[in-house]
């Protein structure tokens, strides 16, 4: 218990990072789970959002209005990118998952290069906006106010996505398409706008995640790969079948990246992948337990 008190702030920071990862991973998970498409452009979209934040919030201080504008711009870009990607994926659907993944990887590489050409190779940092640039002190601990905002935003997002997927007609449609897509279409439901809509939702989350994460992670070439890898690990650990699974996976990886690095700095690079390997090895056992319980 004493250990927990000593490392309390680190654990909280792990939760903040985990919820930021959730924002990125849920889009990836939905696109992969429902549409069966591995969107490798997800990291690049995060980076686009981060550079939007650099452009609008860069400098010593930033206003809340600039931050809100950055979020709106990220949503617009995300919508455009999502629709574009969905249209691009349609003719490739017949050629299988690998071709779709490679096409998205191509988009990712081009986008990353364009961003490097426009913004340069330097690392950019972004200040937290307005009053969120302050500190929050409780019980003798100091914690940046912005990261608390990220925790609250992440939790809100998790609740909203969970309710939409589990409690609305659109969500039911999504879950039905996962189970039996042709049957859904046979029932007369045109799945094409639905597919584009879901893609756009995922990419909007990636871009918004980039704006949200900019005051914490900054923006620089290579960040897209870091974010994509962590997102994929979260999806592997949490599974693609449920929002709660993705949330669990994100929180676990968030703790591993923050608390794990603090406790085991020598193994920092390996911890995330060790967790993923552990999850893969334990997955069959857990599914069997769930089947027995059901």
């Amino acid at each position: 218990m004493v250990w927990l008190i000593d490392n309390f702030i680190t654990v909280v920071d792990g939760v903040a990072f985990g919820l930021l990862l959730f924002t990125i991973a849920i889009g990836l998970s939905l696109i992969l789970g429902v549409l069966d498409v591995l969107n490798l452009a997800h990291g690049a979209l995060y980076l686009v959002g981060a550079y939007v934040a650099v452009q609008l919030l860069g400098g010593r201080t930033a206003s809340m209005w600039a931050y809100l504008l950055a979020l709106i711009v990220a949503v617009v870009i995300g919508l455009g990118a999502g629709t574009g990607l969905a249209v691009m994926m349609r003719p490739l659907a017949r050629r299988g998952h690998l071709d779709q993944a490679l096409a998205s990887l191509g988009v990712a590489l081009v986008a990353a290069d364009l961003l490097s050409a426009v913004f340069g190779n330097e690392v950019h940092t972004v200040p937290a906006p307005g009053f969120l640039a302050g500190k929050f002190t409780f019980l003798g601990y100091t914690y940046p106010a912005y990261r608390i905002a990220v925790i609250l935003l992440g939790l809100t997002l998790a609740v909203v996505v969970y309710l939409v997927v589990e409690r609305t007609r659109i969500g039911a449609l999504a879950r039905a398409t996962v189970v039996d897509g042709p049957m859904v279409r046979a029932m007369g439901v045109d799945t094409r706008p639905f597919v584009a809509g879901l893609f756009a939702f995922g990419t909007v989350l990636a871009c918004v995640g980039g704006v949200m994460g900019a005051p914490i992670l900054g923006a620089y070439p290579g960040l897209d790969q870091y974010v994509l890898i962590l997102g994929l690990v979260v999806v592997v650990v949490g599974g693609v079948d449920s929002v709660l699974g993705t949330l669990f996976g994100a929180l676990v990886i968030g703790q591993v990246e923050v608390l794990g690095v603090s406790l085991l700095p020598k193994f920092a690079s390996f911890l995330v992948f060790a967790t993923m390997t552990g999850a893969l090895l334990l997955r069959p056992r857990i599914s069997r337990l769930q089947a027995v319980a059901a």
């Binding site: 990072f17 330097e122 690392v123 914690y143 070439p221 690095v261 920092a268």
Partner: protein, 390 residues
């Protein structure tokens, strides 16, 4: 029949190509012997230390432009190569400069591991390498060699420059040491610790976050607070400095626990990225833009006019590299003669003050105490005094 003839011709071509490649060093000598000299500029153009590379390049180009593109009366043709983020890209790039571009001299190198990896190739090819930032002690210490020269500083000297001062500031209190987990980090901390403890200082603990892979310093900041240290001594470079300094403020360590550091933590655009979080940090470095000498005033003005930015210690190292080559290239017809020229240099009048090469080719120079404060809306490293020379 035809196949055999073609195969033997191909083999002949391969043999000739190998022979030509083996003649690399003699072609290098020819490069200096003729009128113009090819100079290689090996700097990081991407990654966490790209800004340092830009500064070195700017300093070097400024000296060239002030002297009509000539060094030692010889026209200079510059070949810029990207050393990348580490030795796996830097060492091949440095070798390509000798073998493919046949440069007469190379200047630059920011990554110490890269510099260490180039000692053997450059000594074998008899091409001088003038290092303009890489701080590894061994470059002018255990592995000092004829063809490796440095115009910046060694990690041990830089770290040690603050030892005496911090010991006096902290008195009976303790200091926590932190730097990235690579050669430069360990050497600067070791240099500081030696001088600090010799002056009666006490160390509370130390931490070495992994280099280039850490963006969240909160766990280390928590450990600093738990150790009860009265002050922190740190070294970070580039984006890691920005992250560390901002998080030092975000997580409440500033201003309760004073932060002392070596210069790179608040140099150049790193200071801009840190913003108000850097106020009050005291650093030691072999250069300060506020030095009130005619040479420095002229240099700062010229640099500002050319690049619309204040110069940094890295720019001074690049500028002085051009300066020493200007003296040593005059009348030289081989790498060995350039080295002889460098050996004969006495005191060098530089924006940083007057300095000279030590017997192992490292600068013997004055270190200055600087403090970050705000002047006319911009952050500046203000000159706060001179540090005792080790």
């Amino acid at each position: 029949m035809q196949g055999k003839g073609r195969a033997s011709r191909l083999l002949g071509c391969v043999v000739v190509a190998l022979l030509l490649a083996g003649c690399g060093s003699s072609l290098t000598a020819a490069t200096i012997a003729s009128g113009s000299v090819k100079v290689g500029l090996l700097i990081p153009q991407s990654g966490v230390l790209a800004a340092v590379g830009t500064d070195i390049s700017r300093g070097f180009h400024l000296y060239l432009s002030q002297h009509g593109g000539l060094l030692g009366g010889r026209k200079i043709s510059l070949v810029t190569a990207d050393e990348g983020a580490g030795p796996d890209t830097g060492v091949p790039a440095g070798q390509r400069l000798i073998q493919q571009n046949q440069v007469g001299v190379t200047v630059g190198v920011v990554n110490s591991a890269t510099a260490l990896g180039l000692i053997q190739p450059y000594n074998e090819a008899k091409v001088p390498l003038v290092i303009a930032t890489a701080g590894a002690n061994a470059l002018t210490g255990v592995h000092a060699s004829d063809y490796i020269w440095r115009t910046s500083f060694s990690n041990a000297n830089l770290g040690a420059s603050m030892g005496d001062y911090v010991a006096k500031q902290v008195g009976p209190g303790t200091v926590y040491l932190i730097a990235p987990d690579y050669a430069a980090g360990h050497e600067q901390i070791a240099g500081f610790q030696q001088a600090f403890q010799a002056a009666g200082g006490h160390v509370a603990g130390s931490a070495f976050p992994s280099f280039g892979a850490t963006s969240n310093y909160q766990p280390y900041l928590a450990r600093i607070q738990q150790s009860g240290a009265n002050a922190v001594f740190a070294f970070f470079s580039g984006v890691e400095a920005i992250s560390f300094v901002r998080q030092y403020k975000d997580f409440g360590l500033s201003p309760e626990i004073p932060l002392y550091a070596t210069g790179p933590v608040t140099e150049g655009n790193v200071l801009r990225g840190e913003g108000a979080a850097a106020l009050g940090i005291r650093t030691g470095l072999n250069y300060c833009t506020e030095l009130n000498t005619p040479t420095n005033r002229a240099f700062v003005a010229a640099y500002g006019a050319a690049y619309h930015d204040p110069p940094t210690v890295f720019a001074v190292a690049g500028y002085d590299a051009a300066h020493v080559l200007d003296k040593a290239l005059a009348g030289a017809t081989s790498g060995a003669q350039v080295v002889a020229g460098l050996r004969q240099l006495g005191d060098i009048d530089s924006p940083r003050g007057t300095w000279r090469f030590s017997p192992t080719h490292n600068p013997i120079q004055q270190y200055y105490l600087r403090g970050v404060s705000e002047q006319n809306g911009t952050l500046v490293n203000v000159l706060a005094g001179k540090l005792t020379n080790n």
